[in-house]
C-alpha cells in the first residue's frame, strides 16, 4: 500500500516545524543576553544568519545528502534542489506527512544546529567568515551527521537510537563548538577581565522560548501524533524540570544561592538531555535523566572558565555533553514497552548500549576534526577574527554599523541628496 497523508499528523507537523524555527531566534535572545552590550546585535545576527544560510544550503544539497538513500557515510544526490520532494510522503521517513513538510521540519533542525555553534565564537569572529563557515558546516558536518543518525547512514542502520538529534544536533554542535573555540582563539580580554552577561532577562526569556519550541523539536520527531511523539512531548516537560531542581541544588551548595542564569542554562541542558531519549524512555526514567544528567553538565560549566579555552557560551557543556549523556542513557534505559522498538541494557539488551557507545565515540570525533580543518581552511581565504581594536569597540558597530542600545544623542542625519551630510539637530532614530 503506498503511503498516504494523514491530516492529523500533517497538522501537528506543520505546527511543530514552526515551533522549531522559533527556537533559533530564541537562541539568539539567549545568546545575546549572555554577551556584553556592545556585541548584542552581532550575536543575535549569527542566529539570524543561520536561518538565511542553512535554509538555502539545506534546500540545495543538505537535505539530499542527509536523507537520500542508505549510503553508509553520506546520502545521495537524488533530492538535490528539492527535485522529487513533493506532496507525496517520503517512502522511508515521515510516511504519513507530505515529503515537503518532512523536508521543512528537518530544515529547521539544520538551521538551529548551525546557530548553536556560533555560541563558541561570539564577540570576536568576523561576520563574513561566519557566513561562509555556516554554509560549509551545514553541509560537511550537519548533513553528514544527520545522515548517520536519522537518514539511513551507518549508525541508523546498526540501530543506534537517537530520537530527535542527540547525534546531529547536540553532539555535532557541542564538539564543533570546542573545535571552533580552539581555532578562532580566546577573546582578547578573556581571563583578564570579567566578561559578564549584559541582560539576564534576555537569557531567561530565550531559555523559555527555547523550551516552548522544544516541544515541537522533540514532539515532532515522531513525525506524527503517535505514541512516541506523545511520550517525547511529555518527557520534554518532565526532564528539564528535574534538571532545574538539580541545578538549584548544585548552585545553592556551591554559592549558597540559586541563580537565574544558572536556571536558564538548566532548562537548555534538560531539553538537550531528553532530545535523544524523548520517545524511547519511560516518563520516570526521563525524570531521572533530568536530575542526574544535569550534574556532569553543571560541573563542566563550572570548570571550563578556569581553562584557557574560551568556548564562550558553553555549547560543549550544554549541548555536546548533555547530548552525549542522553545518547548513553538510551543505551541503558530504553524500554520496548514504551517505545515499541528496542530495550536498553537494564531491560536485558546490552547490544543497544554498544550501538549508543559507537555513536558517542564516532560523532564527536567527526564533528571536532571536520570543524577544526574547515575553520583552518576558511582562515586562509577570510580572516576569522576581528582585530583587537575592533573587538574593543564591539562587533555591533564594527560588523553591522548599528548599536543595540542607542540614544540618538549626537546623531546627525546624512541626507541622501548632495555629497555629504547636512548639519541638523540630532536625529531621532
Amino acid at each position: 500500500m503506498p503511503p498516504t497523508v494523514d491530516t492529523g499528523d500533517t497538522a501537528w507537523m506543520l505546527i511543530a516545524t514552526a515551533l522549531v524555527l522559533l527556537m533559533t531566534p530564541a537562541l539568539g535572545l539567549f545568546y545575546s543576553g549572555l554577551v556584553r552590550a556592545k556585541n548584542t546585535l552581532n550575536t543575535f545576527m549569527m542566529c539570524v544568519a543561520a536561518i538565511a544560510v542553512a535554509t538555502v544550503t539545506w534546500a540545495l544539497v543538505g537535505y539530499s545528502l542527509a536523507f537520500d538513500g542508505t549510503g553508509d557515510l553520506i546520502g545521495g544526490l537524488g533530492y538535490v534542489g528539492l527535485q522529487g520532494v513533493t506532496f507525496a510522503p517520503n517512502p522511508d521517513y515521515g510516511t504519513t506527512i507530505p515529503h515537503l513538510l518532512f523536508f521543512a521540519f528537518q530544515g529547521t533542525f539544520c538551521i538551529l544546529t548551525v546557530a548553536l555553534v556560533s555560541g563558541a565564537v561570539v564577540e570576536r569572529m568576523r561576520f563574513s567568515a561566519f557566513l561562509l563557515f555556516a554554509a560549509l558546516w551545514s553541509i560537511l558536518v550537519y548533513a553528514v551527521l544527520a545522515h548517520w543518525g536519522f537518514g539511513g547512514g551507518w549508525l541508523f542502520e546498526r540501530g543506534t537510537l537517537d530520537f530527535a538529534g542527540g547525534i546531529a544536533v547536540e553532539m555535532a554542535s557541542g564538539f564543533s563548538a570546542l573545535a571552533a573555540a580552539l581555532v578562532v582563539g580566546a577573546r582578547k580580554d578573556y581571563g583578564r577581565q570579567a566578561l559578564l552577561p549584559h541582560n539576564a532577562i534576555y537569557v531567561l526569556m530565550g531559555a523559555g522560548l527555547l523550551w516552548f519550541g522544544w516541544f515541537g523539536f522533540n514532539g515532532g520527531s515522531g513525525f506524527g501524533t503517535g505514541q512516541n511523539s506523545v511520550l517525547a512531548f511529555t518527557n520534554t516537560l518532565l526532564t528539564p524540570a528535574c534538571s532545574l531542581l538539580t541545578w538549584f541544588v548544585l548552585d545553592a551548595v556551591r554559592g549558597r544561592r540559586v541563580t537565574a542564569i544558572g536556571a536558564a542554562t538548566a532548562i537548555i541542558v534538560g531539553c538537550v538531555l531528553i532530545t535523544p531519549a524523548g520517545g524511547f524512555i519511560s516518563p520516570g526514567w526521563a525524570m531521572a535523566l533530568g536530575a542526574a544528567g544535569a550534574i556532569p553538565c553543571w560541573m563542566l560549566i563550572d570548570f571550563r572558565p578556569r581553562t584557557r579555552v574560551d568556548e564562550t557560551l558553553d555549547v560543549l557543556a550544554a549541548h555536546g555533553l548533555a547530548g552525549l549523556t542522553g545518547i548513553l542513557f538510551v543505551g541503558f534505559f530504553a524500554n520496548e514497552g514504551w517505545n515499541g522498538i528496542a530495550d536498553g541494557l537494564i531491560y536485558g539488551n546490552a547490544a543497544q548500549l554498544g550501538h549508543q557507545v559507537l555513536a558517542v565515540l564516532a560523532v564527536p570525533t567527526y564533528a571536532f576534526v571536520v570543524t577544526f580543518l574547515l575553520l583552518k581552511g576558511i582562515n586562509l581565504i577570510l580572516p576569522l577574527r576581528a582585530t583587537e581594536q575592533e573587538e574593543a569597540l564591539g562587533m555591533d558597530i564594527v560588523q553591522h554599523g548599528e548599536e543595540a542600545y542607542i540614544t540618538g544623542e549626537g546623531a546627525l542625519l546624512i541626507t541622501p541628496d548632495g555629497d555629504g551630510e547636512k548639519e541638523k539637530e540630532p536625529a531621532g532614530v
Binding site: Q389, I397, G401, E402, G410, A427
Partner: protein, 117 residues
C-alpha cells in the same frame, strides 16, 4: 590639591584602575559620559536612516589628590588608557579649593589621603 579628570575609552577602564592601584592612588569616581574629540565619526544605518554618530562613549575619572600624587595619577591615567589611536581621551588638572571628608569632617590634604595611609 588638584582634581585630576581623565576622559578615557570605556574598554580601558580596567587598565586604568589597575594602573591607579599600582601607583597607590586610592579613591576615584567614575562616570559614563559622551563626547566628541578628534575621532572620525561613525556612520550607522537604521533601515533608510543613515546617521553620523558624533558622540562617542567615554568614561570620566575624577581623582582628587594632594600635590605629591598629581604626577603619579597622570602617569597612571596615561599608561592605563593609551592605545595610540585617536580617541584615547584627555586629562584635565584643575586646582581644588576645599575638600571635606563627610564622615569625619577632616578637610583638605587629610581628606584626600586614604584612610590608613
Amino acid at each position: 590639591m588638584k582634581l585630576v579628570i581623565g576622559i578615557v575609552r570605556p574598554e580601558k577602564v580596567n587598565d586604568v584602575l589597575e594602573a591607579l592601584y599600582r601607583a597607590e592612588v586610592r579613591g576615584a569616581s567614575i562616570s559614563r559620559v559622551q563626547g566628541h574629540g578628534g575621532e572620525l565619526d561613525r556612520v550607522e544605518t537604521y533601515r533608510g536612516t543613515t546617521v553620523k554618530m558624533g558622540l562617542s562613549d567615554k568614561m570620566r575619572f575624577e581623582v582628587a589628590v594632594s600635590e605629591a600624587f598629581v604626577e603619579p595619577t597622570i602617569e597612571a591615567l596615561c599608561s592605563g588608557a593609551r592605545t595610540g589611536e585617536v580617541g584615547d581621551g584627555k586629562i584635565f588638572v584643575v586646582p581644588l579649593e576645599r575638600v571635606v571628608r563627610i564622615r569625619t569632617g577632616e578637610t583638605d590634604d587629610s581628606a584626600v589621603t586614604p584612610v590608613g595611609a
